[in-house]
């Protein structure tokens, strides 16, 4: 009798299979790298899928200019360590107009500095497929997402025009003007991502670990003041707190949690016992009802 293999082994094998299917079927894929834990796992699985060959596609980071400094350092080190073909793209037009997460509504900022530059970069390099780290467990509208998620011209996502997927078969034949987003982590959960990071001993951005950091309490959320571009409002004060992040993004839009979890084991222990799902820490999602679904239709990842 064969002993059961773990659910992580099954998930890993499935993700590798998806990477290989996409790389074989699409003309010019790219891996969207956002530096966070999901991207870390995504990149690791991509390396496994093509080992010992080099990744057969470049890695793209959409830089808003407002990422935590630790994230950028980690990105550059990762690119060096794994010999990645890294492309960094920023919406220069938006940056010059001074669109920032402090003065603008999250929905405007996200559109101009994340959604628009992503489309710009995909068009500029003529990528026909983009790997992303989205998971179906993240949010209700993603629960119905396909592994190969088709985008019409203009990168628009139409829930009614997605292709049925059956068995393990992935149909990557593109119609005119179509591109595709590929989600190898579709069937992973937040807990799986952490379990896997621990099991595979992967390096992650230090911001996931608790440390003394300068923070501001705003609207019940703890924000880290990563540099002086985040103004301190009257009545607020910068307090050094022992905090860490469950999810990473632009620092003025990413809430910290108070924590003593300073190494990977305690982070995983804390996460597995966590009683709040991770998107609670992501401020853009609370903007409006069905927020994520709307952003997706507009082309946000």
């Amino acid at each position: 009798m064969t002993q059961p293999i773990s659910h992580l082994d099954l998930l890993e094998a499935e993700s590798i299979h998806i990477f290989r299917e996409a790389a074989a079927q699409f003309r010019k894929p790219v891996l969207l790298y956002s530096i966070g834990k999901d991207s870390t796992v995504l990149l690791h699985l991509a390396r496994k899928a093509f080992w010992p060959a080099k990744l057969p596609f470049p890695v793209l980071h959409i830089d808003t200019g407002w990422k935590f400094r630790d994230m950028i350092a980690f990105r550059d080190k990762t690119a060096r360590d794994f010999d990645l073909d890294l492309i960094v793209h920023t919406n220069e037009d938006g940056a010059q107009k001074g669109i920032n997460p402090v003065d603008y509504a999250p929905s405007v900022y996200t559109d101009v500095m994340k959604t628009v530059p992503l489309k710009q970069a995909l068009d500029k390099y003529a990528f026909d497929a983009a790997f992303g780290g989205a998971r179906r467990d993240e949010e209700a509208s993603r629960a119905k997402e396909r592994v190969f998620s088709f985008r019409a011209e203009g990168h628009r996502w139409d829930p009614r025009r997605q292709r049925p997927e059956m068995w393990r078969l992935l149909n990557g034949r593109l119609g005119a003007g179509e591109t595709v987003r590929v989600f190898p982590l579709s069937n992973w959960t937040e807990r799986d991502v952490w379990r896997y990071i621990l099991r595979e001993k992967l390096d992650v951005v230090p911001l996931y670990f608790a440390a003394e950091r300068p923070t501001i309490l705003r609207n019940g959320q703890l924000l880290m003041r990563d540099d002086d571009r985040l103004p301190v409002k009257p009545g607020e004060e910068v307090v050094t707190r022992r905090v860490r992040f469950r999810t990473l993004g632009c620092y003025p839009l990413t809430a910290a949690v108070e924590s003593d979890a300073a190494d990977i084991e305690s982070v995983v222990a804390e996460t597995l016992g966590a009683r709040t799902s991770e998107r609670q820490g992501r401020l853009i999602d609370h903007d409006q009802a069905g927020a994520m679904e709307k952003k997706k239709q507009e082309g946000y990842f």
Binding site: A24, P52, W167
Partner: protein, 519 residues
């Protein structure tokens, strides 16, 4: 069945390891400096994918919501959202909110697409695939069911087995689901009546025996109050069986042991010039293979020995169903994407024509002059003709001759291929015996199906068939391609496109296959 080795073993003088984590065997934990994974993050011993089908009226979303609420690791904010929301049925939270997704669907009050949910009990990952129940969504249910290990059929105790249940069972059978659970819900509305349940149970047995299910079990529940969902019902002491959760936990996990003949559909070829590595990358889709064994490529009929089974975590001695690996052969037999490796005595058919049962998924009906491609495990083959023979009536389960089909139809048809492809029958090897039919122009997946007969003989010789020969293609269109094996995929892609164009112009085309010109 051979055991999966879990320890370091010597092979050809060098150390190789099998990175399969054997969860139930704690003694094999890694070295002492490693974190205590088993305490902090125990890996779950396997996974079960559960399809839920039935209509909203039967309380499907409520049933699954209830299961999540009672048995699992829901987050606090999810519980809070539910408590704050409207209440239904005597003050209980509206559990269905945990399952329904898209805004448009919430507004319509029906689920129009399949949704995936994940939850863990102490030992196991459950993946709940929620599919719509309405008749017009047969195609969604079929695609959802194709991913499932077990299906929950939900019915209302007041109404018993309806036409819809019969349709669902027929679809489950078609796509290969082997275990079904009939959940007889709303037992509270029939006064917890045993006779009502037993009658439905008997109807179900009579009806389902004709299918090849390995197991079909009926459970009486009341999802709103949670009776027999995760907690044994006090209202139905006459029912001695397991609760729904207990039953789900007792079923065998997904892919725990290799079954069927060895199949390895090649996805891509990986090279590393630094150490002369040429690996055939793929996922073992059936059976298993060991280093040193002889494998054969069905299309070219060439064989070679397995030299290495490589992964980034080290070489393996054996690769079994479900594992994603790279296989290096002792001789370069020029295998490319689309090939299916097997053992010599259990090969797939090098098929020219297949008989199939398929679910028509597209809103565009079948077009006898349309351009279609057949996507099998890793191959994409131009279809030279697709003929619909009959439609399956899901209620009577009888077939009726037909030559047309449209959305949600289950059709029986013959597919003639423009060149041979390595194909199995679905009963022999599901992963190499299933396919998607692709519209060559739009790329849409127009049908999904299973092969019932794979025939190596071409359809009756047609004098008007034009054969696109290798030499013809090499002379002009493919003159720029090198002899490198990686060019074979591009060679084939171009040949496919030419065949499709000619076919659209009304010319019957066949492509000379690799098998026809190799030794």
């Amino acid at each position: 069945m051979s055991a999966q080795p879990n320890t370091l073993q010597k092979s050809k003088g060098k150390e190789t390891k099998v990175p399969l984590k054997v969860v139930s065997d704690q003694t094999s934990a890694p070295s002492s400096q490693a974190p205590d994974l088993e305490k902090i993050a125990p890996e779950l011993s396997g996974m079960l994918r559960v399809l839920t089908c039935g209509s909203v009226d039967d309380g499907k979303s409520t049933l699954i919501g209830r299961l999540l609420w009672d048995a699992t690791d829901l987050y606090d904010d999810q519980r809070e959202t539910l408590r704050r929301g409207k209440t239904v049925d005597g003050g209980n939270p509206d559990f269905s909110l945990l399952m329904d997704g898209l805004v448009a669907e919430r507004e319509q009050g029906i689920t129009i697409d399949i949704a995936w949910r994940y939850f863990d009990t102490q030992h196991r990952r459950f993946v709940v695939i929620d599919s719509p129940g309405h008749e017009q969504y047969t195609r969604n249910m079929a695609s959802g069911a194709s991913h499932a290990d077990v299906a929950i059929l939900l019915i209302d105790a007041r109404h018993g087995i309806k036409k819809q249940t019969r349709r669902h069972v027929a679809i489950l059978d078609l796509v290969g689901v082997k275990r079904v659970i009939l959940v007889v819900n709303k037992m509270d509305l029939v006064d917890w009546s045993e006779s009502a349940f037993r009658k439905i149970e008997a109807d179900f047995e009579t009806f389902s025996w004709r299918f090849g299910f390995w197991e079909a079990k009926a459970i009486p529940t009341a999802a709103v109050s949670g009776d027999n969902v995760a907690r044994a019902s006090e209202n139905m002491p006459w029912y001695p069986g397991p609760t729904l959760l207990e039953h789900l936990e007792s079923l065998p996990s997904r892919v725990t042991e290799p079954t069927g003949p060895f199949r390895f559909p090649v996805q891509t070829v990986l090279r590393d010039s630094r150490n002369d590595f040429r690996g055939l990358a793929g996922t073992v889709s059936g059976g298993s293979v060991r280093v040193g064994e002889t494998i054969v490529d069905a299309l070219s009929k060439r064989s070679a020995k397995v030299l290495r089974i490589a992964t980034m975590d080290g070489d393996l001695e054996q690769a079994a169903q479900g594992q994603a690996v790279s296989i290096q052969l002792d001789t370069d037999i020029d295998v490319a994407r689309g090939a299916v490796l097997s053992k010599a005595d259990t090969r797939p058919v090098t098929a020219r024509v297949v008989e199939a049962r398929m679910v028509w998924l597209s809103e565009t009906p079948y077009d006898p002059r349309g351009s279609y491609l057949l996507r099998t495990a890793t191959d994409l083959t131009p279809v030279s003709s697709l003929k619909i023979r009959a439609l399956l009536d899901l209620e009577s389960l009888e077939t009726h001759p037909a030559d047309a089909c449209g959305t949600n139809d289950i059709a029986l048809g013959d597919i003639a291929l423009g060149r041979p492809a390595a194909i199995d029958t679905f009963a022999d090897a599901p992963e190499t015996g299933s396919f998607m039919l692709v519209d060559a122009i739009t790329g849409a997946s127009v049908a999904g199906g299973v092969v019932t007969v794979a025939n190596p003989e071409a359809a009756e010789a047609d004098e008007t068939t034009f054969v696109l020969t290798r030499a013809m293609l090499e002379r002009g269109l493919n003159a720029d391609l090198s002899d490198q094996p990686q060019s074979e995929a591009e060679f084939r892609r171009r040949a496919n496109e030419v065949a499709l164009i000619l076919r659209a112009a009304g010319i019957n085309v066949e492509i000379e296959s690799a098998a026809d010109y190799s030794i």
